[in-house]
């Protein structure tokens, strides 16, 4: 019967039905590298991509597939592919679509590794990127060239929290027949589903909120199935002849799932960034409670924002749900449930104050991750960017007093009490 299950139900069930033999309610962990073929014919048909199935875990695995199908259902995509990390997902997409001589338009305000890949690594392979302001759709349009093969950005930028006007940018990409690829790590499908706004491909770091417990690195690509790859001159890797599989054209034979088929046949086959079945299981456990966690993440974030905005030791607070944020109106329109649980704030007293704060809190963990169920903090001025002068940090859009906070699910009073401890240490220092 067709039920059209809702998001909360899909988070728990999509991708798995208990099998008749064991009745295992949880998704089994198929910790295996390979699968016994029933016949040589069956083996050949899997190798030739005649039918679906598993032949080697670098290419696909039943536990990983359950995760992929859950993600496809939650995003409303045609198909998904999970891989070893968010960065692996990003590289798989870029390398599947672009070749020597191609061009990318990307947001200038993104996670460092996303920037580095496009700015430093891909040019060595002849793929150049122009970086533009993500909240300026006109600038994105102007940067598109005849050899532009994709537009890329983060829905909510890390760490600057700039919001992309996805529907406007999608309109531009659509009119120019260029796929819009979005890193949707910070929003997750719970806060916003990019395909509903016209995006074509989603990249996730599952390591963050989707997994949600800081225990497993993983990434995924979800393919909207809503992009026409038919222009063989522009997208030869998707609609032209593949070098193997009898010269298959992925677009002709897989239509909406062409990109994922291409990535499985080339990226997973030749680069091999596969996700371990056990990590897929851990990540799926996280997804089961995604709706509950995201609700609480947002609730706690809004409480923390109140606390910080009104605190005498806080110089400034940045979050798209605050009216003072330059992208507040866009955030309200495309992220009505809230724009994530990352908050940036400045402590009175600059770099030294930031350091003192971080060193004095005890509940919040000082580390380089976001999206854990636990509250996390980092002070770039004394860690990732400690080698840079205050002026150099400013040029990169950061200040030395800035703390990046990933709001967790603890009792809000315990978090604020912990922060008071930090502020007290700063006060002492400032005296």
């Amino acid at each position: 019967m067709s039920e059209n299950y809702k998001f909360d139900t899909l988070s728990l069930h999509a991708g798995h039905i208990p099998d008749k033999e064991t009745g295992s309610r949880a998704v089994p962990i198929y910790q295996t590298t390979s699968y016994v073929f029933n016949s040589t014919e069956e083996a050949a048909s899997l190798y030739n991509m005649e039918v679906g199935g598993h032949l080697y875990t670098r290419i696909s695995n039943p536990t990983v597939a359950a995760l992929e199908q859950r993600l496809a259902a939650l995003e409303g995509g045609a198909s998904a592919l999970a891989c070893s990390s968010g960065m692996a997902a990003m590289h798989l997409v870029v390398s599947a679509i672009c070749s020597n001589g191609d061009h990318i338009v990307a947001s200038s305000k993104m996670y460092g590794a996303n920037i580095n890949l496009l700015q430093h690594t891909m040019p060595r392979f002849g793929v150049k990127t122009d970086f533009v302001n993500p909240n300026d759709p006109d600038a994105i349009e102007r940067a598109i060239k005849p050899n532009t093969k994709l537009v890329f950005g983060e829905v909510i930028g890390n760490p600057g929290l700039d919001i992309m006007d996805v529907p406007e940018i999608a309109k531009i990409c659509n009119s120019k027949n260029i796929p819009l690829v979005l890193d949707a790590t910070f929003n997750t499908p719970y806060l916003m589903q990019p395909f509903k706004h016209g995006a074509n491909i989603i990249v996730h770091s599952l390591t963050k909120w989707l997994g949600g417990h800081g225990i497993a690195i993983g990434g995924a690509i979800v393919n909207g199935g809503n992009f026409d790859w038919g222009d063989k001159d522009k997208f030869p890797t998707i609609s032209g002849r593949h070098f193997a599989l009898g010269g298959i054209s992925f677009w002709e034979e897989f239509g909406p799932s062409a990109l994922i088929a291409k990535i499985r046949a080339e990226g997973m086959y030749n680069f091999g960034p596969s996700l371990s079945p056990t990590n897929a299981f851990h990540l799926m456990q996280g997804i089961e409670t995604l709706p509950l966690r995201m609700k609480k993440h947002i609730e706690n974030t809004h409480s923390i924002l109140d606390f910080l905005v009104n605190h005498e030791m806080v110089e400034w607070v940045k979050h798209p749900d605050l009216e003072t944020h330059p992208d507040h109106q866009v955030a309200k329109r495309i992220l009505p449930k809230g724009s994530g649980s990352i908050v940036a704030f400045g402590i009175k007293g600059g770099r030294e104050a930031g350091k003192a704060f971080i060193e004095s809190v005890q509940l919040a963990s000082h580390l380089a991750n976001v999206g854990d169920a636990k509250t996390l903090l980092i002070h770039p001025g004394s860690t990732t960017h400690s080698h840079l002068s205050s002026e150099a940090m400013k040029e990169g859009g950061l200040t030395d007093d800035m703390i990046r906070l990933s709001v967790g699910l603890e009792d809000i009073n315990d978090i604020t009490k912990d922060f008071e401890r930090g502020f007290k240490a700063v006060k002492k220092l400032n005296k």
């Binding site: 899909l10 048909s45 199935g53």
Partner: protein
């Protein structure tokens, strides 16, 4: 491959191998609002088994241009002319849903090249309710979404798929979106208006196979079982899934078709 046929670019999937009209050819006929991608896991499978395979996108469907056919008879004539143009001598028709009605009419304009018919999720009638007929005119995308949801068994709802990582709903909706917006309404009206299936079924002389689905909400099993009774010696199988048998149960379907083909002369 794309050929020019009746003044329109016409796409014919061949399962990744070239068409060889000296061999037995399996001709797959897609259902309402579908295109060659309904048979993703059949086209390559049978082409690599050594059959010559064609999966035409009917006019205005998939990658084919042209205007949609407006009746089952018109669809059958179009296919007949295509088979003649391709100079095929030995053809097995494999219809899914509306493709089964087209196969029934094609049998009527029977030519010696037609060797056998395989009905997948078929019947002699496919009545369509007025609500869906209206919706297919007013909002074909919404109508497609409803068909994709109704059409799949529990695997659709639960995002279970034999092809790792694929979603029946997400893929199904986008396959239907590839067609020209008017294609669906003509398809559904063609099905609804087709009332001569009983007589057409009784005329079949070639060997037949029917593979029906237990949880079919588009061509219910009851109707399918009545239909096969009309045909002399129709080998019949029932699989535990929804209407979209080719993607829901690809291996079982392929295996049944393969065994049947091996028994044919």
């Amino acid at each position: 491959m794309i050929i020019s046929f009746k003044d329109a670019d016409t796409y014919i999937g061949t399962g990744g191998k070239s068409l060889d009209n000296t061999k037995r050819t399996l001709c797959f006929l897609h259902g309402s609002g579908q295109n060659h991608l309904s048979f993703i896991q059949q086209a390559r499978f049978f082409a690599y088994k050594g059959y010559s395979v064609i999966v035409p996108d009917m006019p205005a469907h998939g990658f084919s241009d042209g205007n949609p056919c407006k009746s089952i008879k018109e669809n059958a004539e179009w296919i007949n002319d295509l088979l003649v143009k391709l100079n095929l001598k030995d053809v097995v028709i494999i219809g899914h849903s509306q493709g089964c009605l087209v196969a029934l009419e094609l049998n009527r304009i029977f030519k010696s090249f037609l060797k056998s018919i395989i009905f997948v999720a078929g019947s002699n009638i496919i009545p369509v309710n007025q609500f869906l007929l209206d919706l297919s005119e007013e909002n074909p995308q919404k109508a497609s979404e409803m068909m994709v949801t109704w059409g799949h068994g529990i695997d659709g709802d639960m995002s279970i798929n034999k092809w790792p990582g694929h979603s029946h709903y997400g893929e199904g909706n986008n396959i239907m979106c590839m067609n020209k917006p008017t294609a669906l309404k003509y398809d559904l009206n063609s099905c609804n208006d087709y009332l001569d299936g009983i007589n057409a079924a009784k005329k079949i002389k070639v060997p037949t196979l029917a593979v029906l689905a237990k949880n079919d909400q588009m061509t219910p099993l009851k109707s399918g079982l009545k239909f096969v009774e009309l045909i002399k010696n129709c080998e019949t199988h029932v699989l535990d899934c929804g209407h979209f048998l080719p993607s829901e149960r690809p291996m079982e379907l392929n295996s049944i078709i393969n065994s049947f083909l091996l028994k044919l002369e």
